[in-house]
């Protein structure tokens, strides 16, 4: 069996990183937009 | 079948002829404007010649034969100089919002699109007429015997390029990043034109039988049909109600 664990770890890390980064972006943008609208609650 | 006398000609075919003749009027107007200044055409020609020279000096002539390089060079030239012409296509209507005059005129909106596409087609064909012999001369390739096949590939590809490029020109010109956006929108669509065209060009230049390039030509024709129709139908949707 070939020893290519580093690729396996790298791919999982990169993919997870991309999803997490996007989720963070969504949250940051959401907060920015909420700050503009003081009336709404949620 | 179709008899052209007014009493017998079906309404739809008279309508089509109307659309096409209006389109031709618009094409003539655009070509007249371009002919007077020639600026876009000259830039495109200069770009083409420059590309031919640069590619020549950029490759190792002992490792790559001119005949292998030439198709790529030609199609890069047509793609980018075509973009130059197509940017201009709706660009000329920007000053004083001249496009409003065209839209208000009693012509079908499809005619505006088709007219501009035809003008761009003439533009691209003119570049091809200059660039192909130029490549033959500068790279010392005998293109005379295959001129007919090359012309067929060139025309089929040009039709696809201008259909897509004209539509995106209409859209890009109204945005903030017009010069960036036109290539960004158009180039992915150019790829299924350029791959078959370049491959067919390579086959034809190597004096292979036309049959080898047949599959690529069929793909080009299919693309042309689908996108000429789709872009013509899409154009009115890009305008306000």
């Amino acid at each position: 069996m070939p020893h290519n664990e580093s690729y396996y770890y790298a791919a999982y890390a990169v993919a997870t990183g991309i999803y997490v980064a996007y989720a963070v972006l969504l949250l940051v943008r959401w907060n920015r937009v909420k700050a503009r609208l003081p009336g709404k609650d949620e | 079948m179709l008899a052209l006398s007014p009493g017998v000609t079906p309404k739809w075919s008279r309508r089509m002829l109307e659309v096409l003749s209006d389109a031709w009027l618009i094409a003539r107007k655009d070509l007249a404007i371009e002919f007077r200044t020639r600026s876009a055409f000259l830039s495109a020609v200069v770009f083409a010649l420059l590309a031919i020279v640069i590619f020549f000096f950029a490759w190792d002539a002992t490792a790559v034969a001119a005949i292998d390089l030439a198709p790529g060079v030609l199609w890069v030239i047509f793609t980018f100089s075509g973009l130059l012409g197509m940017h201009r296509s709706f660009g000329v209507e920007q000053p004083d919002r001249a496009i409003d005059g065209l839209i208000a005129a009693p012509i079908a909106r499809e005619s505006i699109f088709l007219g501009k596409a035809i003008a761009s087609l003439v533009f691209v064909l003119a570049i091809q007429v200059i660039a192909i012999p130029a490549v033959g001369i500068f790279y010392n390739l005998p293109l005379g015997p295959v001129a007919g096949e090359l012309a067929l590939i060139a025309i089929l590809a040009a039709i696809g390029l201008v259909a897509v490029g004209t539509l995106f020109s209409a859209m890009a010109v109204n945005t903030r990043l017009a010069e960036l956006l036109l290539p960004m929108l158009a180039l992915p669509f150019f790829v299924p034109i350029v791959i078959p065209a370049a491959q067919a060009t390579a086959k034809v230049m190597s004096a292979r039988p036309v049959g080898d390039a047949f599959a690529w030509l069929k793909l080009l024709v299919a693309f042309d049909i689908v996108f000429v129709v789709a872009c013509t139908l899409a154009y009115p949707f890009t305008l306000e109600e």
């Binding site: 290519n4 993919a15 | 890009a172 491959q199």
Partner: protein, 223 residues
């Protein structure tokens, strides 16, 4: 922003899929540990194309019905779609290097995904460059439909190119019949990432509704 049941379910599903793929799925003998990349690569590819399918459908519907909600769904699906497409294009080469010997080999599916990425990016950049909402929606809809028309042509071009220019590969990627455990993991991963897509889509859509100052009651969409 309080997490909805959908978001929580999606996160749990993804975590479960990860755990099963990493700890409870056997290694593949020929490809080794790198084969496990499949469990995040393939589902991402499925979502990437499905997301674009939704962009295309809502684009066509928008031109017909002129409903702003449809434009917002298209915009959201495009943004979430490009994220998944990026995952495909990063995990693909990382998988390709040990298996094929090269990061990029113009593999038909990966090349098609590359073009999907280009279309997505062009779509999003164009949206960013148009200020007028109505024009932005119209242009996006046209691009969404044309992009969908483009996909089969790219596929045909690449396929034709490859059948005429076959490339050698070092190790053949997973055979059509997978052992039961691996198949289960793969299917679980597909389900989990699809759920993640739906959760992200909804979150992105709600953001778009709030950003546009639209009536909150309007956000109740059927799906």
């Amino acid at each position: 922003m309080k997490p909805t049941p959908l978001t929580i379910a999606a996160l749990i599903a993804v975590v479960v899929a990860y755990i099963r793929a990493i700890f409870f799925t056997p290694l593949e003998a020929i490809q080794g540990p790198a084969q496990k990349i499949l469990y995040i690569h393939a589902p991402a590819a499925w979502v990437a194309f499905m997301a674009f399918g939704l962009v295309a459908i809502t684009s066509a519907l928008y031109l017909w019905l002129r409903e702003d909600r449809l434009d917002r769904i298209a915009e959201s699906s495009a943004e979430v779609g490009v994220v998944f497409t990026t995952v495909v294009l990063t995990t693909g080469p990382i998988w390709g290097k040990p298996i094929w010997g090269a990061y990029w080999t113009w593999d038909a599916r990966l090349t098609l995904t590359l073009f999907l990425w280009f279309i997505y990016v062009a779509y999003l950049v164009m949206r960013g460059a148009v200020d007028d909402h109505a024009m932005r929606a119209r242009y996006s809809a046209v691009l969404g439909i044309l992009g969908a028309l483009l996909i089969p042509f790219i596929h045909l071009s690449v396929y034709l190119f490859r059948t005429l220019h076959p490339k050698p590969i070092l190790i053949k990627p997973s055979a059509p019949s997978m052992p039961g455990e691996m198949l289960t993991t793969l299917l679980l991963a597909f389900a989990a990432f699809t759920l993640l897509y739906v959760a992200l889509l909804r979150a992105r859509y709600r953001y778009a509704v709030t950003r546009d100052g639209a009536n909150p009651a309007e956000e109740h969409r059927a799906a």
